[in-house]
């Protein structure tokens, strides 16, 4: 029963991530993975990234955003999230896990 419940929870968080984050990003054609790479490039640490995303989602502003100021000439600043802290943290962790590069890196011999 336990693996099934884990799988079920995983499915649930993925669908919530899709619904709460990716749907809107896809609609506005703002690639989520590219934004995550920007976070990686600037902060490196997962903990810091987690904190910075949470800060932005709780109180969105151009200063708190990872995007450059010119970005907001084209796109409006999003409204503050109405999700509670716990839900936000769960979704941020799922976002980081979804785009994390550790599982994607492969070592290949030089030709």
């Amino acid at each position: 029963m336990l693996p099934f419940s884990l799988w079920s929870a995983q499915e649930d968080i993925q669908s919530r991530l899709e619904q709460e984050c990716f749907r809107c990003h896809e609609k506005q054609k703002i690639p989520s993975e590219a934004i995550y790479r920007r976070y990686l490039l600037k902060y490196s640490s997962r903990e810091t990234i987690r904190r910075k995303i949470f800060g932005y989602l709780s109180h969105p502003s151009a200063q708190r955003s990872i995007m450059p100021p010119q970005f907001f000439n084209k796109f409006a600043i999003k409204a503050p999230s109405d999700l509670d802290e716990k839900q936000l943290h769960e979704l941020i962790d799922a976002y980081i896990a979804h785009f994390d590069i550790a599982g994607k890196l492969r070592i290949l011999p030089q030709e």
């Binding site: 690639p31 993975e33 590219a34 790479r37 990686l40 490039l41 600037k42 902060y43 490196s44 640490s45 997962r46 903990e47 810091t48 590069i101 550790a102 994607k104 890196l105 492969r106 070592i107 290949l108 011999p109 030089q110 030709e111």
Partner: protein, 387 residues
């Protein structure tokens, strides 16, 4: 080889080889350290170059959005990527737990580990750690080369040291041989007059001769020979501390006195004495020096003269010359004839100190000495005191 010579040679060799070994070891060690550093520097350069290549790949992968992000690595290299909190992002080897992030290069057993900080943090990587297997063949070759150098150097310097040692102890060998020869000559030289005295005394007792003129003559010659040997040896021994009383001395008179002293020996050898002695030749010289000078010249001229030969003695205000008709001195010996214990001719007894004493006196008074000699014709020694 004498025992003392052998001991000196071994001591010299020991000091020489130990000091050479220390010098070579220190030199080789410094050379080894420098060369090893150079070899490692080359490997550092190559791992650094690999780091640059990987960083370029990370820059490219930063904007690559594919399910897999390949990093191409040369054979023999491993990589680890860490974030700013030094948490592992990715690695294909186990990073040592005590890894020091403050050092750029670290050597761990057979690996060289290169730490390259990255900024900005492509793919979140703040540190790129590259591990490379150190190529030990160059260092092993270096060690082999130094060992060969030390071995061949050791053989070369041992051989060289042996020959140098032989050269080093050669003067000692000469001194020992000279001393042996001197002792041999001394015993022989003393034995002849002592035996002469004893034999003649015995003869006188046995024959109970009242008029033992010839025996007495032989005893007189032998006694004078002993006395002269004693005087010469004492002069040599005291030469360093001898205090000279230099005063005007009538050399003509002294020469006549000394000729009288040798009269018996001259007569015994039936030598024809020819003198040309100017009266009152006054020279500033110590009396003992003058006696030793004249005695040695006359003694040599008598000793090396032929039986029935000629002895010419001349003195004038400029020089003194003594000429004999004896065995002469070979031309090649003339250059070293004044060396102590030098004996150009071994036909007669002697120490080889006579001409050395003459030469020392000549040197002390800044006189000039010349020897004109021809084998089997004779020798003429001339001392010139007038400048």
């Amino acid at each position: 080889m004498y025992r003392s010579e052998k001991r000196s040679l071994f001591r010299f060799l020991a000091i020489y080889l130990v000091s050479t070994l220390i010098l070579f070891s220190a030199g080789s060690y410094i050379f080894y350290v420098f060369e090893k550093h150079h070899l490692l520097d080359l490997q550092r350069e190559s791992v650094k170059h690999e780091g640059e290549k990987i960083q370029h790949q990370l820059i490219r992968l930063q904007s690559t959005f594919r399910p897999t992000l390949p990093i191409y690595l040369e054979n023999g290299y491993d990589i680890a990527l860490l974030d700013i909190d030094k948490k592992l992002i990715f690695s294909n080897f186990d990073l040592p737990k005590d890894f020091d992030f403050t050092q750029e290069y670290q050597l761990r057993s057979e690996y060289m580990i290169y730490n390259k900080p990255i900024d900005p943090y492509y793919l979140g990587a703040a540190y790129m750690i590259i591990r490379m297997t150190v190529d030990q063949s160059g260092i092993a070759n270096l060690q082999k080369m130094i060992l060969m150098f030390m071995l061949s150097g050791g053989v070369f310097f041992s051989v060289l040291g042996y020959f140098l040692g032989r050269m080093f102890v050669a003067p000692m060998r000469e001194s020992i041989e000279m001393m042996n020869r001197f002792i041999q000559d001394t015993t022989h030289e003393l034995n002849t007059p002592i035996s002469t005295i004893l034999t003649n005394l015995e003869l006188m007792e046995t024959l109970e001769k009242c008029d033992a003129k010839s025996e007495m003559q032989r005893i007189e010659i032998a006694s004078k020979t002993l006395s002269r040997i004693y005087d010469d040896l004492t002069y040599l021994r005291l030469n360093q501390n001898y205090h000279r009383e230099i005063r005007p001395l009538d050399l003509s008179r002294l020469l006549q006195e000394r000729l009288l002293y040798f009269a018996v020996a001259i007569e015994a050898k039936r030598i024809r004495l020819m003198t040309q002695i100017d009266e009152e030749i006054i020279v500033e010289i110590d009396r003992e020096d003058a006696i030793r000078l004249i005695d040695n010249l006359l003694s040599n001229a008598i000793k090396y003269n032929k039986t029935g030969g000629i002895l010419e003695v001349k003195i004038d205000p400029i020089e003194l010359s003594v000429k004999d008709s004896g065995v002469g001195i070979p031309q090649k010996e003339l250059g070293t004839i004044f060396d102590r214990f030098k004996r150009a001719n071994r036909s007669e007894g002697g120490f080889g100190i006579g001409l050395n004493i003459v030469y020392q006196i000549v040197q002390a008074y800044k006189y000039r000495i010349s020897i004109d000699s021809e084998p089997n014709i004779g020798t003429e020694v001339t001392i010139t005191w007038q400048k």
